[in-house]
């Protein structure tokens, strides 16, 4: 088993993803501001904040929004290092992608070939992406997926769609574990590192086995759901009163959106 072998490395990727999922679920149960906000208010609020951030073409407002998200993260006891990583990586990638525009956009030169509009565009773009990703990250790390689904249901997203998402989510960890077990089992039987061709042939039958297993499992789960009354996805809503923290969050969203719309 060779340590750099990509197929073998997949087991690690799977474990990492599963770990991230569980960490988010843990953070979502901490007591903090956003965790206490009703999922519908939170979902709509975050969508509104992203929508108001995206159209700006100067760096100031997105930067302010990014600052606001950091404040929200602190008040919601979201682990800052993780949040920074989650936001920073897409920002860095975006910066690399739009960096050539710093030279390409015509305008007053700033330094060498770099122009003022160019650098302003690159900064705006990166901050815009950063603020949006940070907002989405806040939503994800302060909301249990089950309550997000509840919110979608209340917002009249079709039952079937919600049931589909619920079952997909419910089986993520199960299939992650299954696939990494399969990968490790195959790898552990290999004595020397695989050639390119072997890796591919192996991955092909691995994928086939795995997806067939998933289809079978899906059928079994389908029969179980049928025997228990179907997948109409009815559930007993966990009612929660709308309180001060909801009002506070709604106010923040409202004020920010108003400021964004009225921005000169």
């Amino acid at each position: 088993m060779s340590p750099v072998d990509p197929v073998g490395r997949s087991a690690g990727t799977l474990t990492d993803q599963a770990r991230g999922l569980l960490r988010d679920e843990r953070v979502a149960t901490r007591s903090g501001w956003l965790q206490a906000v009703h999922p519908i208010v939170k979902l709509l609020g975050i969508v509104a904040l992203i929508a108001v951030t995206v159209p700006f073409d100067t760096p100031g407002p997105p930067a302010a929004m990014l600052g606001l998200t950091i404040g929200l993260a602190v008040l919601s006891r979201v682990p800052l290092a993780t949040h920074a990583l989650r936001t920073g990586v897409p920002m860095a990638v975006s910066l690399v992608i739009v960096a050539p525009q710093a030279v390409l956009l015509p305008g007053a030169p700033l330094l060498g070939p770099v122009t003022v509009p160019g650098i302003s565009y690159a900064a705006t773009f990166t901050l815009r992406v950063g603020a949006s990703v940070s907002l989405l990250g806040l939503l994800l790390s302060t909301t249990r997926f089950a309550s997000l689904l509840g919110a979608l249901r209340t917002l009249r997203v079709p039952q079937t769609a919600v049931a589909l998402l619920a079952i997909t989510y419910r089986h993520l960890l199960v299939v992650f574990e299954e696939l990494s077990r399969l990968v490790l089992a195959r790898r552990s039987r290999r004595v020397r590192s695989a050639t390119l061709r072997e890796s591919w042939l192996e991955a092909g039958s691995l994928l086939g086995t795995f997806l067939l297993g998933a289809l079978d499992r899906g059928e079994r789960v389908g029969r179980a759901a049928r025997s228990r009354g179907g997948t109409a996805g009815r559930g007993y809503p966990r009612q929660r009163a709308v309180g001060l923290r909801d009002a506070a969050f709604a106010f923040v969203v409202f004020a920010t959106v108003a400021a964004g719309v009225l921005w000169p």
Binding site: P6, D24, F125, L172, V174, S205, L215, G222
Partner: protein, 310 residues
């Protein structure tokens, strides 16, 4: 290919989102009834599995790795409508749980990865299958990915928020994904061969609702329409994008062509001398696509497992 928030203009995200909803509504209707009964769990579990399968890294020469995407494979296994729904679940969960791809642009990501990839992959599969089955499977995987990437590139290029021109984005993203598509085609074919050997009943013809000649005509019409429209998109985007004078676009494209030349691309310039640049892009795109298809076909053949017992 997961586009984050902040890359697309809101109106484009909204428009494409509506298109996705329309297509998915048709998919739900076409798979009539199949979804309320035991199919929702079947799709959910399959979606989760495709998500996991996307984390399977495969080595490619040069020390890096690619990963499986699965839209075309799902289409072959489940039929296009159910596959579109399963891939939608995958893309939605990726955004709503893992933050892969944005929230406001979710509709756009669903459009490229769950709608375009699946239906294009399936159409290619159905059209080529009567002639050569493995080639059809390979081509489905390759075309699904490539056209999905082209769709994403057009959305990005048409967005004012993303300062690059459609042609530039198409050349870079399209070029790269047309190469990645070879890997997708190959792995789709390998997985297919495995399923065909162990569970042929799953791949048995499920009384097609549409014959392949009609599909060919429709597919040609759609693809032709898109191909014809893509320069119009580019032109339109430039007309809208008055912050950037037209002559400047040439500089942009020039700079990009330089960057592209470092990729092992087939037509380094993405243009043909003496021909209008838009037509040139179009023609070279088509030629490149055909070449890649042929190379992929040849390259894919030795990968088909020998029928020795495993």
């Amino acid at each position: 290919m997961h586009i984050p928030d902040g890359y697309l203009d809101l109106w484009i995200a909204a428009l494409v989102g509506l298109a996705s909803i329309a297509v998915l509504a048709i998919a739900v209707r076409r798979s009539a009834g199949a979804l309320d009964g035991p199919r929702a769990p079947l799709l959910g579990v399959t979606a989760a599995a495709i998500f996991a399968a996307q984390m399977l890294n495969l080595p490619i020469p040069g020390g890096t790795s690619v990963h499986f995407v699965g839209g075309a494979f799902a289409a072959i296994l489940l039929g296009p409508h159910l596959a579109a729904l399963a891939m939608t679940a995958v893309v939605a969960i990726q955004a709503l749980v893992f933050g892969d791809g944005g929230l406001v642009v979710l509709g756009g990501n669903v459009f490229s990865m769950a709608v375009v990839e699946v239906y294009v992959g399936y159409a290619v599969y159905r059209v080529v299958r009567p002639y050569h089955k493995p080639a059809a499977v390979f081509a489905a995987g390759w075309a699904g990915i490539s056209v999905a990437a082209l769709t994403a590139a057009i959305m990005l290029g048409a967005s004012e928020a993303f300062a690059y021109e459609v042609t530039t984005v198409l050349a870079i993203m399209g070029g790269w994904h047309i190469l990645l598509g070879i890997a997708e085609g190959a792995i789709t074919l390998l997985a297919y061969e495995f399923v065909a050997e162990t569970r042929p009943d799953l791949l048995a013809d499920r009384s097609p609702t549409i014959d392949s000649r009609r599909l060919l005509r429709r597919g040609t019409a759609v693809v032709g329409g898109l191909v014809v429209l893509s320069p119009a998109f580019a032109w339109g985007a430039q007309q809208v994008n008055y912050t950037e004078p037209l002559e400047h676009a040439a500089a942009t494209t020039g700079a990009t062509a330089h960057a592209v030349r470092t990729l092992p691309s087939l037509l380094p310039d993405y243009g043909i001398a003496g021909v209008d640049p838009y037509v040139g892009t179009l023609v070279s795109g088509l030629v490149g696509a055909t070449l890649v298809l042929v190379i992929g076909w040849l390259a894919g053949r030795p990968l088909i497992p020998d029928s020795e017992p495993r």
